[in-house]
């Protein structure tokens, strides 16, 4: 298939993730949008690994590492969101602004 197909798909997922991070105020929604962005990166990595046919399979190995890091990040992120909810009774990230000017 043309290389552009998976690349444009990944770009679309990434842009959707960017919109989700900027426009949504629920903290869990923001985490979901970050997962979309990480998946777009994975599609890009695997597509280039298939296109370049490298012997080291670097794209796929790196995609596996990205999945592992994303899992760790979602765990920590949700623990933080849980803690914020316990202390402030809200998951609206606009209301968590103690460190703002």
């Amino acid at each position: 298939m043309p290389l552009l197909y998976p690349l444009v798909f990944a770009a679309f997922l990434f842009s959707a993730g960017v919109y989700g991070v900027l426009a949504r105020r629920n903290a869990v929604m923001v985490l979901m949008s970050i997962e979309l962005m990480l998946n777009a990166v994975n599609v890009n990595l695997v597509a280039f690994s298939a296109y370049l046919q490298d012997k080291l399979l670097a794209g796929q190995v790196f995609a596996l590492f990205v999945v592992a890091v994303a899992a760790a990040e979602v765990g920590i992120g949700l623990a933080i969101v849980l803690l914020i909810y316990r202390n402030r009774e809200t998951v609206n990230i606009d209301e968590v602004d103690l460190l703002r000017w």
Partner: protein, 164 residues
């Protein structure tokens, strides 16, 4: 337009629409379920790109663990399920749409400019044995580092979320 391209286009349309519904859904639980569709379509794309092990890992870890974790997070933070969820003002959403759309346009333009005629040639799917060899011969150090990272994240999440 062979079968592989048709299958890819079908998966891309489904996945793209699902990704769009994830970020624009009013109901947070619906957004999590649309995320399942989006992640599954990405796993299908991995299969078409001759990476079956990455596709399996994607389904097991992303759909099987991370989405479940997100659903638990939604449940435990008692996000307004069913009711109208709070959202940014219209001006902020239009700004985000401009940024997101602009990023998509920019990325697509750059990619079309660089890789316009290239094709991915078909080859045999990457065996798990080949991937295992690659990881444990060439990328052992990042593998161990990721293990330590996962351990730290596990301990950190437990410490953060416990009640004391």
């Amino acid at each position: 337009m062979n079968g592989q391209e048709i299958a890819f286009l079908a998966l891309a349309v489904v996945g793209g629409l699902a990704g769009l519904f994830v970020v624009t859904s009013r109901n947070v639980v619906h957004a999590a379920l649309w995320l399942v569709v989006a992640l599954s379509s990405v796993a299908g794309v991995f299969l078409l790109l001759a990476a079956p092990f990455v596709a399996f890992v994607q389904v097991i870890i992303y759909v099987g663990a991370i989405v479940v974790l997100i659903l638990f997070g939604i449940m435990l933070t008692r996000a307004p399920v069913g009711r109208r969820v709070f959202d940014n003002s219209l001006r902020a959403r239009i700004g985000a749409l401009v940024i997101g759309g602009g990023m998509f346009a920019m990325l697509t333009w750059f990619m079309v400019d660089a890789w316009s005629g290239e094709r991915i040639t078909n080859r045999a799917p990457t065996t798990t044995e080949a991937l295992g060899n690659a990881i444990f011969r060439n990328y052992v150090l990042p593998f161990e580092a990721v293990s330590v990272l996962l351990l730290a994240a596990l301990i950190g999440a437990i410490v953060l979320a416990r009640r004391d």
